[in-house]
């Protein structure tokens, strides 16, 4: 009898399951699918690109990038002036802006926010503390940043997340918030075009238009970010029309299929994201630059892309990404792709041969860069061993262990990827080959000549001089090979055909405002 009742219950549930689905509200809601994760909820502590992307729509910097562009334009500041020694930046603020609760936005709020970032010592705080000595309030509408040293790319730093002003009446001064519920009012609000009305980690974030925003009103009413645990599901949801667009990160096979789809539009852009091979360059065997060159020569970039990424992404021949000023295809000129002859020649010069092979470990990390990484390592192994003079042992470690190992100099060669902290060639060169940055990434490359060049590049304000300087550094790279660039990520966004106004930018900043349905 009990079983009969039970069956009845199951039947009722099954019947309910086939009731018609509710149609959606009249509000223009854009549903955005992604496989990324929100790590952090405080601008003083967030240090990952997805969180920064959301914050870029909730907060606003003194300077900002227009949708889809890489040039800086005024944001909360109307204009700025640089002192003659390049160490003082004075920003004139927009007048009459108010936070949601009516607190006026002024120079004090800017100083308060920067001081907060400095005091809290959050993860990205070095983007402030390494450069800014202190902030002065000039008057209610002007604020002055006094730098430790002249920094040519300071404006692009000011456009980054730790510099966003927050409401002093809402944010706790002495503590990093973990959850919006810890804020007064319980919601993430800033001076940007949107405010977050609901936040469910790993599930969804609902953004609504911020009525107090000073700029152009967004063309939609609401953006809901749906978090997918895997790309497969996201792709299916997109194909079924359940989400309006999907961004980061689909599998190569899915991208291939979706690009062919007639009902889905593809939006493509060069990403600022680069992948490269690192060498532990102060420890045998790779303290010999000839061996580093030999490996770099044997790498066949287009083949990696074809096999692992089914033709997506672009081969990269310099650490400075394509699309950024000063980029040159240095490695293409110096080595080409899969240059077995050159590689064999270099190996022979160090006494290696087919009977006496150069054996070393190649490390990769299996989940941090997605599950294509294992294939990248397998293909590289195959390419290097094609010289007949190398024996490559592929090894892997999860990200936390990986980091430990690079610090402890346990990995002679290893694969890494880079998202920039700020958009400048400095962040793509000094970070790997400058003594300090290089140590932090387990490369341990150090050369006083190079360090001098990097300092020069940071101070120089003339773009022409900087361009030629960074071109020279890129050429030097092919000789010393502290790292070997492999490919640059292409950003793929897929949307329903009636969605308009999506503009991807190489800065990875992504404005939700212009997006709307036809």
């Amino acid at each position: 009898m009990r079983i009969a009742k039970f069956l009845l219950l199951v039947l009722v549930i099954a019947a309910l399951a086939f009731l018609p689905a509710r149609s959606f509200a009249a509000k223009e809601t854009m549903v955005y699918g992604t496989t990324e994760k929100v790590i952090d909820m405080d601008p003083a502590n967030a240090y990952d690109f997805h969180t920064w992307e959301i914050f870029y729509n909730i907060y606003q910097g003194l300077l900002r990038y227009p949708p889809g562009k890489t040039n800086l334009v005024p944001g909360l500041a109307k204009s700025y002036a640089i002192s003659a020694d390049g160490k003082e930046y004075t920003f004139k603020l927009r007048k009459g802006l108010k936070f949601t609760d009516g607190t006026p936005f002024d120079a004090h709020a800017v100083k308060w926010s920067i001081d907060r970032v400095i005091a809290l010592k959050g993860d990205p705080s070095w983007l402030v503390t390494d450069f800014v000595d202190h902030v002065d309030v000039v008057d209610k509408d002007a604020v002055k940043f006094v730098l430790k040293n002249p920094v040519a790319y300071f404006p692009s730093l000011v456009a980054s997340c730790p510099y966003y002003p927050v409401n002093p009446k809402v944010y706790p001064k002495d503590k990093i918030i973990r959850d919006p519920s810890e804020l007064k009012g319980g919601k993430l609000v800033g001076l940007g075009p949107y405010r977050a009305v609901s936040f469910k980690r790993d599930q969804e974030i609902v953004l609504e238009v911020n009525p107090n925003f000073y700029g152009e009103k967004p063309k939609n009413d609401q953006v809901v970010i749906r978090y997918f645990a895997d790309a497969t599901t996201m792709r299916l949801a997109l194909e079924k029309g359940e989400i309006d667009f999907a961004f980061k990160t689909l599998n190569p096979s899915d991208i291939n299929d979706l690009q062919k789809s007639k009902t889905i539009q593809t939006i493509k852009a060069q990403g600022p994201y680069i992948r490269y091979l690192c060498f532990l360059s102060d420890t045998p065997p790779f303290n010999e630059k000839v061996l580093r060159q030999a490996v770099a020569a044997a790498v066949n970039r287009p083949k990696v892309i074809e096999k692992v990424f089914l033709g997506q992404n672009a081969p990269l021949y310099s650490m400075v990404p394509m699309g950024m000023w000063s980029h040159i295809d240095a490695f293409k000129t110096a080595f080409g792709d899969g240059n077995i002859a050159k590689s064999r020649e270099l190996l022979t010069s160090r006494g290696y041969s087919e009977s006496k092979q150069f054996a070393f470990d190649l490390w990769y990390t299996p989940s941090h860069y997605g599950d294509t990484e294992v294939d990248v390592a397998a293909v590289l192994k195959d390419q290097l061993e094609a010289t007949g003079m190398m024996k490559v042992n592929v090894k892997s470690a999860e990200w936390a262990t990986y980091r430990d190992q690079w610090k402890n100099k346990q990995m002679p060669t290893f694969l890494l990827g880079w998202y920039p902290d700020y958009i400048d060639p400095d962040n793509y060169t000094a970070a790997f080959a400058g003594t300090a940055g290089s140590r932090g990434l387990g490369i341990y490359f150090s050369d006083p000549e190079w360090d001098k060049k990097f300092v020069e590049g940071q101070k120089e304000t003339d773009l022409k001089k900087r361009t030629s300087l960074y071109k020279e550094i890129q050429r030097m790279w092919t000789n010393e090979v502290p790292t070997a660039p492999i490919f640059q990520g292409t950003l793929y966004l897929f949307a329903q055909t009636d969605v308009q106004g999506i503009m991807l930018s190489p800065t990875l900043q992504f404005n939700y405002g212009p997006i709307h349905r036809k």
């Binding site: 009731l19 809901v224 941090h368 262990t401 430990d404 610090k407």
Partner: protein, 338 residues
């Protein structure tokens, strides 16, 4: 009843050292793990001094013994500290994910028992017939199919080829949990707010994962029920009922099954551990936002506090369930030796 309550107390007391041993194992295993959780927590670009400071803050530089005592004290208060990777309290992460796991295992269990017990009873009734052999074969084969592969195959067939069922997640992308969520048990929540279209969505998302989980375990229940039914069907009172002319179906599925069910129920306590393990894999395959996925994800990140919390939670749940099952069994079957 004096006997029973003494049994319950002994059983509860026995659970304590069990949980304690597991807690210790978890602590030791996680401390030996290689990896630099703090560096991971701070992202790729943080300087050494910052990392050291954070380690100090988290107490990772203190002696093991002190860390261990602190850890036990934390567990007693059910406070697992902060996640090392995300700015989040571990307790919060777990309470967010726990309902999803419970919902999945509950539905999985229902399917296991329905499939297992009914098929088992049917096979016993039709002993030595082709149906019986087929069901017995099913019992063996289904148990050897890895749950994640069964999941993938069901996804392939029903999600991709036939394209009739969703293959992942708890709700569709356009059903927003924030509009109905109260307890975290979506089936319950959607009924509470009477949002039946959301309920429908939640239920169809449950179909594939709970079938996957339920089918794999049903094999064991088929065999158990069949064996017990065979014994029961030979019993005198069944023969007597038969002689009295009761309907065969009533005898088998009501009287016999009821008696065969009690031993099956005890096995359930043991099988529950398997159900939990199966849930970890099912959640991974179906991107089910539960504790299993949380565990696997955080292991990649070496997020010690969260891993610790999740495993402890599993340990507590398993201990609790086996305790409850044992007690129920003691109450239901008075023959049990206390």
């Amino acid at each position: 009843m004096g006997n029973l309550s003494r049994y319950v107390i002994t059983r509860v007391l026995l659970t304590i050292p069990m949980v304690f041993i597991l807690l210790t194992t978890v602590f030791v295993v996680l401390r030996i793990m290689p990896g630099d959780p703090v560096g991971t927590m701070l992202g790729g670009h943080a300087p050494e001094s910052v990392i050291e400071k954070k380690k100090e803050e988290l107490g990772l530089n203190r002696p093991m013994a002190i860390q261990y005592v602190n850890y036990l004290w934390q567990v007693c208060r059910l406070d697992f500290g902060d996640s090392m990777v995300f700015k989040q309290r571990v307790t919060k992460a777990i309470t967010e994910k726990l309902p999803a796991t419970i919902e999945l295992t509950t539905f999985g269990m229902i399917i296991t028992i329905l499939l297992g017990v009914l098929l088992g009873a049917y096979a016993a009734d039709k002993r030595r017939s082709p149906q019986d052999n087929f069901i017995r074969l099913y019992g063996i084969v289904i148990f050897c199919i890895p749950v994640y592969w069964l999941g993938l195959m069901l996804q392939l067939i029903f999600g991709i080829w036939l394209d009739i069922l969703p293959i992942a997640g708890r709700t569709g992308p356009r059903v927003f949990a924030s509009t109905f969520e109260k307890t975290g048990f979506y089936v319950l929540d959607t009924i509470l707010v009477r949002d039946f279209s959301a309920l429908r969505d939640v239920l169809i998302h449950l179909i594939l994962p709970s079938f996957t989980l339920g089918m794999v375990l049903s094999g064991i229940f088929v065999r158990l029920t069949r064996a017990n039914m065979l014994d029961v069907l030979k019993a005198d009172y069944i023969l007597a009922a038969e002689a009295r002319g009761l309907k065969h179906r009533v005898i088998v599925y009501k009287h016999a099954l009821k008696n065969a069910f009690i031993p099956v129920l005890t096995m359930f306590g043991l099988q529950f551990a398997l159900l939990m393990a199966g849930a970890v894999l099912t959640e991974s395959t179906f991107s089910w936002p539960g504790m299993g996925r949380l565990l696997v994800e955080r292991i990649y990140l070496r997020d010690y506090p969260t891993i610790q919390g999740v495993i402890i939670m599993f340990a507590l749940i398993v201990a609790m369930v086996s305790l409850i099952v044992d007690i129920i069994y003691a109450i239901v079957d008075p023959r049990i030796r206390y």
